[in-house]
């Protein structure tokens, strides 16, 4: 049986958000790694206990976030991101008190400033757009102030340049994050709209096919029986009785398939339904089926084979162009096989495109829902397509 991946509303939003969490944690890890030696160098200028706690927290949170990003609930990821923002801001605000020297001797910036991007990105992921930009401004200003104080509080030139560069740098990425989140939401909205259109079209198509199938049944069985009966003679009476019995069985089959899927119908009702279904779709499809006798099939099988055959023929009519089409149905004691063949354009069945989802879902998935049901597809570009529907009867 085909296992379908469960999807929930907001697929794109959720997945895009997860990618951004991965990117944010990788940013934190990358800048932690590239500034590790810088941090070790500066350890002698700040309180060791403070430095140890802050370094442990700021270096471990990206690892935790990366490990959680692909599977944890988004609320958890957001909580971790908020925690990182809080730790970072606290570290920036308390660094001046932890710094042991009036000025970092080599003029370099405090190592925690290099971790500004992850803190800003975390804000962009948890706050609405305006909040993200405000948080960016606050963090950049806080970092600029730290740079000023850590450098002895004597010159504004470098802190101002730092703040300008940092703000420009993180702005690029915050814009990317916000645009990506918006793109995710937009794609979910578009997907919902497309799905609705598809659902409405599929329902209308199915409804039309049912009407056409019922019309064929009416024409071929009911009308034919009534006319024959009205004009019958003693010599044709037995034949007319047979017609009427068969028409009633077809009516029973039609009614049964809409109620109880476990009820049994004569196999010739299946063959008739397949013939009517194929005929309702196109009168150019050749249909061949030996008349089965004395065999019963579950109505669930009758519907599955009929629906899957309809989709296979529809698919051929849509994609195979002007080609020969043939449907063969064989029902025996052991099961049923329906083969739908065309000699049209064909396609690479190993790379079924989104346009061919009909095959995967309406045929393969449809058949897999029936016990003993399966479908196989064989298609080669330029050499046509062959779809075989199988139903194997289970132990009686």
């Amino acid at each position: 049986m085909t296992v379908l991946e469960t999807t929930s509303p907001g697929t794109a939003t959720t997945r895009m958000t997860r990618v951004l969490f991965v990117g944010t944690s990788l940013t934190g890890l990358a800048f932690s790694a590239t500034n590790f030696s810088h941090a070790i160098d500066q350890a002698r200028f700040v309180d060791l206990a403070w430095d140890t706690v802050v370094a442990t927290a700021l270096w471990s949170v990206p690892i935790v976030l990366l490990l959680l990003s692909w599977w944890a609930p988004l609320a958890t990821l957001r909580a971790v991101a908020v925690a990182y923002m809080g730790i970072f801001l606290l570290a920036v605000l308390t660094w001046p008190f932890a710094q042991l020297v009036p000025r970092i001797p080599d003029g370099t910036q405090p190592w925690i400033i290099n971790l500004l991007p992850m803190a800003v990105f975390a804000g962009a992921l948890v706050l609405p757009a305006v909040g993200a930009w405000i948080s960016l401004a606050v963090l950049c200003l806080a970092v600029g102030a730290l740079r000023f104080l850590a450098d002895g509080g004597t010159s504004l030139s470098i802190p101002v340049q730092d703040t300008l560069f940092n703000a420009m740098y993180v702005s690029l990425f915050v814009a990317i994050i916000l645009v990506t989140l918006r793109a995710g939401r937009q794609r979910d909205i578009e997907a919902d709209r497309t799905a609705n259109d598809t659902i409405i079209a599929a329902a209308a198509e199915a409804q039309n096919l049912e009407r056409a199938t019922a019309a064929l049944l009416t024409h071929d069985e009911v009308i034919a029986t009534l006319i024959t009966a009205a004009r019958s003679t003693d010599a044709t009476a037995a034949m007319v009785t047979g017609y009427a019995t068969r028409a009633l069985q077809r009516l029973d089959a039609l009614a049964a398939t809409s109620d109880d899927p476990t009820s049994l119908v004569p196999a010739h009702a299946l063959v008739s339904l397949l013939r009517e279904t194929v005929g309702a779709l196109a009168d150019t499809v050749r249909f061949h089926a030996p008349e089965p006798a004395g065999i019963l099939v579950p109505t669930s099988v009758l519907r599955a084979l009929s629906d899957a055959t309809a989709e296979a023929v529809r698919n051929s009519l849509r994609h195979a162009g002007d080609s020969e089409r043939r449907v063969t149905a064989v029902v025996t004691d052991t099961g049923a096989i329906v083969e739908i063949v065309d000699d049209g354009a064909g396609f690479d069945s190993s790379s079924v495109t989104s346009e061919r989802f009909g095959i995967r879902f309406s045929i393969v998935h449809r058949m897999s829902l029936v016990e003993g049901g399966s479908a196989e597809l064989d298609s080669t570009p330029g050499k046509g397509t062959r779809i075989v529907l199988h139903w194997m009867r289970g132990p009686q």
């Binding site: 379908l4 991946e5 999807t7 697929t11 794109a12 997945r15 895009m16 990618v19 940013t27 990358a30 790694a33 590239t34 003029g107 290099n114 030139s157 340049q161 300008l164 560069f165 420009m168 740098y169 814009a175 990317i176 645009v179 990506t180 793109a183 794609r187 497309t194 799905a195 598809t198 599929a202 329902a203 199915a206 409804q207 096919l209 049912e210 009407r211 019922a214 009416t218 009911v222 009308i223 029986t225 009534l226 006319i227 009966a229 009205a230 009476a237 007319v240 009785t241 017609y243 009427a244 009633l248 009516l251 039609l254 009614a255 809409s258 629906d307 989104s354 309406s362 998935h365 449809r366």
Partner: protein, 331 residues
């Protein structure tokens, strides 16, 4: 996804949009400010000015509209700008002085390369970065100063994160497209199955109501009376009406047509609207008009026809009483 079925990060991130142009202006202005602020710390201000113009030009080129991947010529030009500005600016900086933004070009070039990668040229972006790093290593060996070399790790981090983000975004976007298609396919299969079952129930109920008793009578094998044969002829006509004129499948009209047929009127009902949404009110109006004519007939022929959409009238009724033919337009 674009119409070729490939995922475009350029489209997702709107790199060529108005928001991107604002960020581009910010990028250029900030680097201009940094370059001017450190103009006294370089050997040649002219080299700095030429470099800032070149980097700004590269930034403009990387955000210009184009298919993804960015055309090779433009991409190579960007890599060339990165190499040329690194070569010119590295040796324009006084070695040994405290690190300042006189080395602005390394960060600026890395951001340009990051966007080159986002636009589908990750390989060239890393080639550009390798050239930039190699030139800086040569400068380090030449001058003995490690100031610029110390700046490279952060640039590697930036480009690495950007590259991984682009890869992740492409893969995720592709998967999202597949999932959305699967969701739509599952929903449409379910919706089709539901609609089919409902329609089947309707059709089965209609056929059972109309034809079952007659079929059961025929199937029981007892000899048929003339009255029965006549009723089946009329029933056949009624069933045929339901096929030819589904829009006129209204009980009152079905009964009126059957009564008229029993009086010897030849009734033909047709629907040429091809399933176009004829409203319930329109159908009732047409049925009432046909019933009115049928009730007045004891012989002759009536053809009621629902017209295709856009004909001005809803339907026509032709009545032939054997002497003359009259036509009535409905609606």
């Amino acid at each position: 996804m674009n119409n070729t079925g490939t995922v475009s990060v350029t489209e997702i991130l709107r790199i060529t949009g108005s928001g991107a142009r604002t960020l581009l202006a910010t990028f250029v202005i900030v680097h201009l400010v940094l370059a001017v602020a450190t103009i006294t710390e370089v050997y040649s201000p002219l080299v700095t000015i030429v470099a800032i113009v070149l980097v700004a030009a590269a930034a403009v080129v990387v955000t210009l509209p184009a298919a993804e991947p960015l055309p090779l010529g433009r991409s190579l030009a960007i890599v060339a700008v990165v190499a040329a500005t690194t070569l010119a600016m590295d040796w324009n900086i006084e070695p040994g002085s405290a690190p300042t933004y006189s080395s602005w070009h390394l960060g600026a070039n890395t951001l340009v390369l990051l966007f080159l990668g986002l636009r589908g040229r990750s390989g060239l972006a890393w080639i550009g970065f390798t050239i930039m790093a190699a030139i800086t290593v040569v400068w380090t060996i030449d001058t003995g100063s490690t100031n610029l070399l110390g700046l490279l790790p952060n640039q590697i981090g930036t480009l690495l994160v950007g590259t991984l983000f682009a890869i992740g975004l492409r893969r995720t976007s592709r998967r999202i497209t597949e999932l959305h298609a699967e969701q739509a396919a599952i929903a449409s299969v379910e919706s089709a199955a539901r609609a089919a079952a409902e329609e089947r129930t309707r059709q089965a109920a209609h056929l059972n109501e109309v034809a079952r008793s007659a079929l059961e009578r025929i199937a029981d094998g007892a000899p048929f009376s003339d009255a029965e044969r006549e009723s089946w002829i009329r029933l056949e006509a009624t069933v045929r009406d339901s096929l030819r004129a589904p829009a006129l499948n209204i009980l009152k009209l079905t009964e009126a047509a059957d009564n008229a047929r029993s009086r010897g009127v030849e009734v033909t009902l047709l629907d040429d609207s091809e399933g176009a949404a004829t409203s319930e009110t329109d159908r009732e109006t047409i049925a009432a008009a046909i019933i009115e004519q049928l009730d007045e007939m004891d012989s002759g022929r009536l053809i009621g026809r629902v017209l295709p959409k856009g004909r001005g009238q809803l339907a026509t009724i032709l009545v032939d009483d054997g002497e003359s033919t009259t036509r009535t337009d409905v609606g």
